[in-house]
C-alpha cells in the first residue's frame, strides 16, 4: 500500500479522493493491535488516533469514532490470524501460541494479503521465516521446513491438474528426447527433518481433541489438554506432497527417486534424469515409474517455480 495520507479528504469529489479515504482507513485497520487488542493510540505521524479517527469516521451515541474503527481493525486481525492458524497447525504446534502469534503478526505487517483469496495468505511465509530468524530461533530451519510442507499441502489441495500423459506416448519417445512434466499440485521436498510424521502427529492430536469436544457428553467431560507433540529429530527425508482422487497424501521417496523426479521437474530429459538415480537398480526404477504413472503425476512439461 502507498504511504498513508496525513489527512482524510474533507469532501469526496473524485476517485482520487475515494482512494485517499480508503488508504487512510486501510492503514488504520492494518496497523498491529495493542497487547490488549486495541487500535494503536497514535497515528503514523504521532497525532492521537482519537483525533485522526474523528476526522473521517462519525461517532454515534454509543461509540466514538476511534471505537468504531477499532471494531474493524479487530475483525481484520482476528480473521487473518484464524486463517493462518488454520493453514499452519504444524507451525503453531511447534512454536506455541505466543511465538506463533508474534510470527503471524510480524509476517502480516510485512506481507499483508495481496490476493483476493485467503488461500494465498501463507505463500510468502517460508521467505519471511528466513528473513526474520529471531522469531523462530533456535529452530528456524525446522520452522521453515514446516512452513514449506504446509504450503505444499495448500498447493496439493486445490492446485492445477493437467492432462495425464499416456503410457504409449511416453514409451514411444526415445529417453534422450523425452521430457516429462510433474503435475503442478505435486511438491517435491528434500527435508532435514521428518516433517510429514510430525504434521501427522499434530493432526492426530488435534483430531482427538476435536473428537472429545464434539461428543454429546462434552459438556460434562473435560476436553483433554493440548499435549505437546515432541519436535522431530534431524533425519534426511524426501517426500512428495500430492493428492490422489482429491485426497491429500504424503509419499516418502527414496533419495534416488527424489533425484529423478526433481531432474524431470526441472526440465531434464528422461535419460539425464535416470543418470541422476545412481545406485538404483533398474527393476526398482521401473517400479517407481509404474507407481508414479498410476498416480497420474506426469503431464506435459510445465514451467515450474523453484521450491
Amino acid at each position: 500500500m502507498k504511504a498513508p495520507p496525513r489527512h482524510a479528504p474533507k469532501r469526496l469529489r473524485t476517485t482520487g479522493d475515494l482512494r485517499v479515504l480508503q488508504r487512510m482507513m486501510a492503514t488504520a485497520l492494518l496497523r498491529p493491535l495493542t497487547p490488549d487488542d486495541g487500535l494503536q493510540p497514535t497515528w503514523v505521524d504521532g497525532r492521537p488516533m482519537e483525533q485522526v479517527a474523528s476526522e473521517f469516521i462519525k461517532p454515534n451515541d454509543r461509540l466514538s469514532a476511534f471505537e468504531r474503527l477499532q471494531l474493524y481493525s479487530r475483525m481484520y486481525w482476528f480473521r487473518l490470524f484464524d486463517a493462518i492458524r488454520d493453514d499452519c497447525p504444524g507451525l503453531l504446534a511447534m512454536l506455541g501460541e505466543d511465538r506463533f502469534g508474534r510470527l503471524a503478526q510480524a509476517y502480516l505487517e510485512r506481507y499483508p494479503s495481496r490476493s483476493f483469496t485467503l488461500r494465498d495468505l501463507c505463500s510468502r511465509l517460508v521467505q519471511f521465516i528466513g528473513e526474520e530468524p529471531s522469531l523462530t530461533r533456535p529452530h528456524t530451519a525446522l520452522a521453515a521446513e514446516i512452513a514449506r510442507f504446509e504450503w505444499a499441502q495448500t498447493v496439493a489441495f486445490d492446485g492445477e491438474s493437467r492432462p495425464v500423459l499416456d503410457a504409449a506416448r511416453i514409451s514411444s519417445t526415445p529417453p534422450d528426447r523425452l521430457r516429462l512434466g510433474l503435475q503442478p499440485y505435486v511438491t517435491l521436498l528434500a527435508l532435514a527433518y521428518p516433517i510429514d510424521a510430525y504434521v501427522i502427529s499434530v493432526k492426530r492430536r488435534d483430531a482427538l481433541r476435536s473428537e472429545a469436544s464434539n461428543t454429546p457428553e462434552s459438556r460434562t467431560v473435560a476436553v483433554p489438554p493440548r499435549r505437546r507433540v515432541p519436535l522431530p529429530r534431524r533425519a534426511r527425508t524426501f517426500v512428495a506432497v500430492h493428492r490422489h482422487h482429491n485426497r491429500l497424501f504424503y509419499k516418502r521417496l527414496d533419495p534416488a527417486a527424489y533425484r529423478i523426479l526433481e531432474a524431470l521437474a526441472s526440465g531434464e530429459t528422461l535419460s539425464t534424469a535416470l543418470a541422476a538415480a545412481r545406485g538404483a537398480k533398474p527393476a526398482q526404477v521401473r517400479r517407481w515409474f509404474k507407481a508414479w504413472m498410476a498416480l497420474g503425476w506426469f503431464c506435459a512439461p510445465v514451467a515450474r517455480r523453484r521450491r
Binding site: I57, L71, R79
Partner: protein, 282 residues
Amino acid sequence: MPANRFNGHCDYGIGIGLRVPHYSHILSKKPVVDWFEIISENFMVDGGRPLQLLDEILEQYRVVQHGVSMYFGSADKPDRAHLRRLKNLVKRTKTPWLSDHLCWGSVDGTYTHDLLPMPYTFAAARRTAEKIRQIRDFLEVPICVENVSSYAEYHVSEMTEWEFLAEVVELADCGILLDVNNIYVSSKNHGFNPYDYVNGVPHDRVGQMHIAGHTKFEKYILDTHDHPVLDPVWKLYAHATKRCGVSATLLEWDDKIPSFDEVHNEALKANDFIDGAKKATP
C-alpha cells in the same frame, strides 16, 4: 420481483448456502432444496476437491454464485486475472445471476478481506456504478449488489445508505440483493428506521434477498450469521416481500453451523411470510 432481468428471469424459491459441514449429507442424502448459493471465491481454484464437489452439486442442484471480494466500491481498477477466474466459474456453474457486495475492501492491491462500508457520495456512486458495468460486461451475467452490515459511517457522506444504493443501481442498471438482516443490523448501529430503508430502494430491481442471524452486544450488533433469524428480521423480511414481491431468498448460516436439516428448516420458515405477502398482494 419474482423473476426479472436482474436474476436472469428465474423464479427461484428458498435456498441455503453450500457449506463444508453439510457436504457429505447433501451428496449422500440428496435432500430437496430449491437452490444453493456458493461463495464464488471458494471455487475459484485450479483443481482438486473443491471443483469435484462443485461438479457433483451441479449435477443435482441449481447454484447461484455469491462473491465476497469483487469490491465494487474500491477505487482500484478491477483485477483482470480475478475476473478471468470468476468468468471461468460462471461458465462452469451457469449461474443465472451473480451477486457481490456494495462495499470496498482493497486499496493499492492490498486486501483487508472485509466488507468495508462506502462513503455515501455521488462521486463514489459514479465510480462504483462504472465498475459494476465494466464487470458485468466482462462476465456477461446479470449482477445484483448486496447492501452490507456496517459499524462505521463517514463524515463525507452526502446521502443515506439506501439513497446511495439506489443511486448506484440506477447508474449501473443492475439488480439488488436485499439483505434484510444487514439492514436491521445497520439500522441499530446507525440509528435509522429499517422500514425507511426497505421503502426507499427501487423495488423493481430486487433480484434476491438474504436473511440471517446476528448477535447483540452492549453497544452494537454484529452480523455473525451464527444464529437463527431473529423476529425483527423476519418482520422486516415480510415487509420487504410485500413491497418487492416474492424474491429468491437465501438463508446465510456461516458459523456454529448446525445440522443440514436445522439450517434448511430455518430457511423454509420464510414460506410463512411469503404466503402472507401473496395473500396481501391482489
